[in-house]
């Protein structure tokens, strides 16, 4: 009786621990066992300052994908970003990918804006229309130092 009790309680303890771990890993930590079906597009940016791997891609404020990798292109000094877009999200050939910030000091993410072109991008193709990260410091210094001179 005593022996059964010990095993039962230990078994329950192990199950509880594993359940708590799974909750953390999957729900909070966002580790997914299987990949969400999707396709990968690339985009070149002049500057992606602050963007990081695993970041969010949004279209109309809805999360539609993640940033799967970021590389540096030494030939023309640009950043190459691989975008993993979920299936069922069409990206037109003239869609615009822009690096945006959540709030003023929030995290950087990529915003997709729809284009008007009927043809859609498929696996491995490139988004040509990109807008780089807007640096608040640059804007402020531009305003201060260029403000006096006439354009």
């Amino acid at each position: 009786m005593n022996k059964i009790n010990v095993q039962l309680i230990t078994g329950l303890f192990v199950m509880l621990g594993i359940a708590a771990f799974t909750y953390q890993a999957v729900t909070i930590g966002g580790a997914s066992i299987r990949e969400v079906p999707g396709y990968t597009l690339t985009a070149r940016f002049d500057s992606i300052s602050g963007l990081r791997k695993g970041g969010i891609i949004e279209a109309a404020g809805v999360r539609v994908g993640t940033i799967s990798s970021i590389k540096f292109d030494p030939d023309n000094y640009k950043a190459i970003v691989n975008l993993r877009i979920n299936d069922g999200v069409p990206v037109q050939q003239d869609a615009i990918a822009s690096v945006r910030t959540q709030g003023i000091i929030g995290e950087k993410y990529i915003k997709l804006s729809a284009g008007g072109f009927p043809d859609l991008l498929t696996e491995g193709m490139e988004i040509h229309e990109t807008e780089s990260a807007v640096s608040l410091e640059e804007l402020v210094s531009k305003y201060i130092f260029d403000g006096g001179t006439k354009k």
Partner: protein, 264 residues
């Protein structure tokens, strides 16, 4: 002059002693690994030790987890309110608990509850010559006494840590959302956005290291009690070995926490 020499001598003896203890502890780890690779394999002793180290610590872990979560919720709320960014409460509580406080607090709780009694148990077995009796019967004390405890520590501490983390998040939720009225969505979603798999993995790695470290130090302190200067005889020896074990393993937990954090 002679008193100076005496002091230097004491310092040397202290260092040699510390080195010897460390060596014995890690030698014990190798011994455990060696015993694990050789039959007979027996699982029931491990289950029993997991019951003792893990399942019986559950109440303590749940209570302390809720308390820590509530304290974090309270303090973070007060701090974040000054900067007007209360929506970061969930992220703050979750990162604090999952990366640092969960593993460390759980390990310290296990040291206090299970570690001390491991040392006392092995120490008393040593001074009442039960260990010698085992050796006479050709039963390896490493396999029979130490290995189940270390394996149980290795498995139980991570499981306890996960329970602690889980409960602490709800403690923070209770204080932040129910008492102070932080938006429920911003608490949970801020947490989900901020915590990455690496954070959970770091907590897990820490707790595995702590589990082995704590049980190993406590085992070696009790098992080799007769070799230390203070612990040569009797009840007093057991009490000083237990104190040593608790102090040393707590320090080892805190220091290795920093080390793992810095290396990761």
């Amino acid at each position: 002059m002679s008193s100076l020499a005496k002091n230097i001598e004491n310092l040397g003896a202290f260092c040699l002693n510390a080195l010897e203890q460390t060596g014995r502890t890690f030698n014990m780890l190798l011994q455990v690994i060696w015993e694990l690779l050789h039959p007979p394999y027996r699982f029931y002793p491990i289950v029993r030790q997991m019951y003792f180290i893990g399942a019986r610590s559950l109440t303590l872990i749940i209570v302390s987890g809720i308390t820590i979560g509530m304290v974090l919720g309270l303090q973070f709320y007060n701090i974040l309110q000054r900067f007007g960014s209360v929506e970061l409460l969930g992220a703050g509580v979750a990162l604090g608990v999952i990366r640092e406080l969960g593993p460390v607090m759980t390990a310290l709780m296990v040291v206090g509850r299970a570690g001390s009694s491991i040392t006392a148990e092995l120490g008393i077995m040593r001074i009442t010559e039960q260990v010698d009796a085992l050796e006479c019967m050709a039963i390896s004390p490493d396999k029979f006494l130490i290995a189940p405890k270390v394996i149980a520590g290795l498995l139980s501490v991570p499981l306890l840590t996960m329970v602690f983390d889980f409960v602490a998040l709800f403690g923070g939720y209770f204080v932040g959302v129910k008492m102070f009225g932080v938006a429920e969505g911003s608490y949970w979603n801020g947490m989900i956005d901020a915590v990455e798999w690496q954070d959970v993995r770091l907590g897990l790695e820490k707790s595995i290291v702590f589990g082995v470290l704590v049980t190993l130090i406590c085992c070696s302190r009790g098992f080799y009690m007769h070799l230390t200067k203070a612990g040569s005889q009797g009840a007093e020896g057991v009490s000083s070995a237990t104190t040593d074990a608790v102090v040393l393993s707590s320090i080892a937990v805190l220091f290795s926490d920093f080390l793992i954090g810095a290396l990761a």
